[in-house]
């Protein structure tokens, strides 16, 4: 990691230094903390799933596998488009990169729309934390839905952050702040987006496929 060729120090006297490998390393470390953040929740999930296996199974019946699957496909596709956007820019195809990035953002918004309908469906069915309907159920089911709202909620928050982040990056690509020879910001945002995708890949079976 001491390959100093990648550290380009500008000739200007104010030593603006650019270190793409360092920037990526920082991003990976940040993603690592994100995984640990969700790791705490996965741990809680594991404890309660172990404690109430049957009730988790019953509660899982109430979730729509169809919506979950559609959202999984949407997120996986958006991961592909963001990767394509990076490659396109590196191959100096700026317009394709912009299209792919816009597509990623659109898919992310689509995911959120789905999520909105899914959650409001749950709310109208009387399933939300503290609702009478939920409190009349078994403890295991209460916990299942508690975790469902917390974990998919925190994930949805990350999707929202991703939408904002990718939109800013899109603006930078359009304004030539990010160019083919300096893609590290785009790549890091792509990494973040893959993480959002990756976490969903674990949430999906844990909630939607345990029926």
């Amino acid at each position: 990691m001491t390959d100093s060729n990648h550290i380009i120090e500008s000739a200007a006297d104010n030593h603006i230094h650019r270190d793409d490998i360092g920037a990526k390393m920082g991003m990976w470390l940040f993603l690592f903390t994100e995984i640990l953040l969700f790791g705490g929740l996965f741990l809680v999930y594991a404890v309660y799933r172990f404690q109430y296996p049957d009730q988790f199974h019953i509660a899982g019946m109430d979730l729509s596998t169809a919506i979950g699957t559609i959202n999984t496909i949407i997120l996986l596709t958006s991961s592909l488009t963001v990767a394509l956007s990076i490659t396109a820019l590196q191959k100096q195809n700026k317009s394709l990169s912009i299209i792919m990035l816009s597509l990623t953002i659109s898919l992310a918004i689509l995911f959120m729309i789905n999520k909105y309908f899914e959650w409001s469906g749950k709310f109208s069915a009387g399933i939300y934390p503290g609702s009478e309907d939920l409190l009349s159920r078994h403890n295991g089911e209460i916990l299942f839905f508690g975790l469902y709202f917390v974990m998919t909620g925190l994930h949805a928050l990350h999707v929202l952050v991703g939408i904002v982040l990718l939109s800013i990056i899109l603006g930078m690509v359009v304004n030539k702040k990010i160019t083919y020879d300096y893609t590290v910001k785009l790549e890091n945002s792509g990494l973040y987006w893959h993480l959002v995708d990756l976490i969903w890949i674990f949430l999906f079976p844990l909630f939607y496929l345990i029926q």
């Binding site: 100093s4 030593h15 270190d19 920082g26 640990l36 934390p129 503290g130 295991g140």
Partner: protein
């Protein structure tokens, strides 16, 4: 390595900034210079430390005799919570890494700044935001929090005080800690000067590096735990609520998965500072360099696996308790490795007992007591009796205040001429160290005996038989107050009126001493090339000739 004529012409980082504003507040609060950020942390931390110390003095006043003396029980609950929250989240966790890590990590690596200077400034502002949130939680309706700094469930969900805001502040502060950790790790990997291989890094860098890893491994766990408590308070999801099937003990696990490694966030950088000071004042290369470097990583690693020793009486299986007790004993090994190597370094050294060195002597004595009583608490049999007594309080203060707090002062006294280019009064400093030693033991040692006799922690009143020892401890707190005023006054006086210090008054050889004092904006005129081992004092002659 700068030559002396260049030093004279060079502007220090005080005179030359990297902001648009050339002077005034804006030149500091928008500066991405790691040295200015370190000093801003220092001023913020000094304020919080003073506030929390004064709270501690008031708590001791209440405990001067039995019954209600000064305040009612609820006020006392609030005060010990605030004392803990401010000392831990605002002083001792950020303490050495944020102040001295920021200032000296790039200098010791031979770098111009950290890897992400703007992120560094951002971390500082997040820290300030968190601190403001803590202060807001005191004054907003609902009242200051009264749960203790551990925020244990179920009380933290039921208490009507401003828990949500206060723990959200802890979340924000954690975010600052994570970003600083990421920054430091990347800096160590990417910005070492040419020739500085991993095993040529100064040991303070090693310690800060290990700390940074704990910061990013452990902090996200407390972050999510805090989020869960807030959600619990707002929506009643039931994750920690037994009436809804949740498990309050799970909260304790999640809390200590962070908060035990956090005590290594507090102590590891201090150990790094000790490894800097001892060779400099013993004029001898450090004994067991690799052992000390690797023991930092070992503490970071094993320290991650011992959290449940805080919960021996919370209700766990005997197998779990046995395993966690064993692991706790294991973590004492790398700490022992360090202490023996430090002492061995002094053997046959040419010791120059200047104030920083005396602070370190203080540290070794107090920290050894703190460490050994930690083993008493780590053993199952004794812990069941001593859990939640003053013994724990005494142990914790010996390790944290006697350990990290002492070294915070040691670091200030060691790097003072480097940071400010001036010198404090050596004689007053020596008196300060001696007084500190007396005051500290007067204040905290009685707590060991009180705890052994059965005095529980966090009580605002006590039985008559504890009165005389409680009184001794309170007298100790007065002496401590006087000592702290003396120590800090000496430093302030040094900054304002101190005589000009030479560039390298102690004869240190790590890279920060290869540049002028105070250092210029970008630290080095030419990035030095590292040819020596970090504590090779044979280069001292060359440095003088340079």
């Amino acid at each position: 390595m700068t030559n002396s004529s260049a030093v004279l012409n060079q502007k220090s980082f005080y005179e030359e900034g990297n902001t648009k504003a050339k002077s005034g507040l804006a030149a500091w609060i928008f500066s991405t210079d790691h040295k200015r950020i370190g000093l801003m942390y220092l001023s913020a931390i000094a304020i919080f430390f003073s506030v929390a110390a004064i709270i501690g003095i008031f708590m001791r006043l209440e405990l001067i005799s039995t019954g209600k003396d000064l305040m009612d029980a609820q006020t006392y609950n609030t005060l010990f919570t605030l004392h803990g929250v401010i000392m831990i989240f605002l002083f001792i966790i950020p303490g050495i890494p944020a102040v001295f890590g920021n200032f000296f990590l790039p200098l010791q690596l031979g770098a111009r700044d950290v890897s992400f200077p703007r992120l560094n400034l951002f971390s500082f502002w997040i820290y300030i935001t968190g601190a403001i949130l803590v202060l807001l939680s005191l004054v907003l309706p609902g009242g200051p929090i009264d749960t203790g700094w551990t925020f244990y469930i179920p009380y933290s969900v039921r208490s009507g005080t401003n828990i949500s805001l206060a723990i959200f502040a802890a979340f924000v502060l954690g975010f600052s800690s994570i970003l600083t950790g990421i920054n430091f790790i990347t800096t160590v990997h990417r910005l070492r000067a040419p020739g500085m291989s991993w095993f040529k890094m100064p040991l303070f860098v090693w310690a800060t590096y290990a700390t940074a890893w704990i910061q990013i491994i452990a902090t996200p766990v407390i972050a999510i735990t805090i989020v869960l408590v807030i959600i619990e308070r707002l929506f009643g999801v039931g994750i920690f609520d037994p009436s809804l099937g949740g498990d309050p003990i799970l909260y304790q696990h999640l809390f200590w998965i962070y908060s035990h490694p956090a005590v290594y966030i507090m102590i590891l950088p201090a150990m790094g500072v000790v490894s800097e000071i001892i060779p400099t004042f013993a004029r001898r290369t450090i004994f067991g360099y690799k052992a000390i470097a690797i023991s930092s990583l070992a503490i970071a690693f094993v320290g991650y696996l011992v959290w449940a020793h805080h919960m021996f009486t919370s209700g766990m299986s005997d197998t779990a308790r046995w395993i966690f007790s064993l692991l706790t004993f294991l973590v004492a090994l790398p700490s022992g490795v360090k202490v023996f190597n430090w002492v061995a370094t002094m053997y046959k050294g040419s010791i120059d007992p200047k104030p920083p060195f005396l602070w370190v002597m203080n540290f070794i004595f107090l920290f050894s007591i703190g460490g050994l009583t930690g083993l008493v608490l780590g053993s199952l049999v004794t812990d069941v009796h001593l859990h939640d007594t003053y013994f724990v309080v005494a142990h914790f203060h010996y390790v944290m205040f006697g350990g990290t707090g002492t070294i915070f002062f040691a670091a200030l006294y060691y790097w003072f001429p480097k940071i400010f280019g001036k010198m404090y009064n050596i004689k007053t400093a020596n008196i300060g160290v001696a007084l500190f030693f007396v005051a500290f033991n007067l204040l905290y040692f009685p707590k060991f005996i009180l705890g052994y006799m059965g005095m529980p922690r966090r009580y605002y009143d006590f039985l008559p038989e504890f009165e005389s020892l409680q009184f001794v401890s309170t007298v100790g707190s007065w002496l401590m107050l006087i000592t702290l005023i003396l120590i800090i006054w000496n430093l302030m006086h040094g900054i304002l009126r101190g005589r000009k210090s030479e560039s390298n008054p102690w004869g240190g050889v790590t890279l920060e001493w290869h540049t002028s004092s105070p250092p210029p904006l970008e630290n080095f005129k030419v990035i030095p090339e590292v040819k020596h081992e970090p504590y090779d004092f044979s280069q001292l002659e060359d440095m003088k000739n340079d």
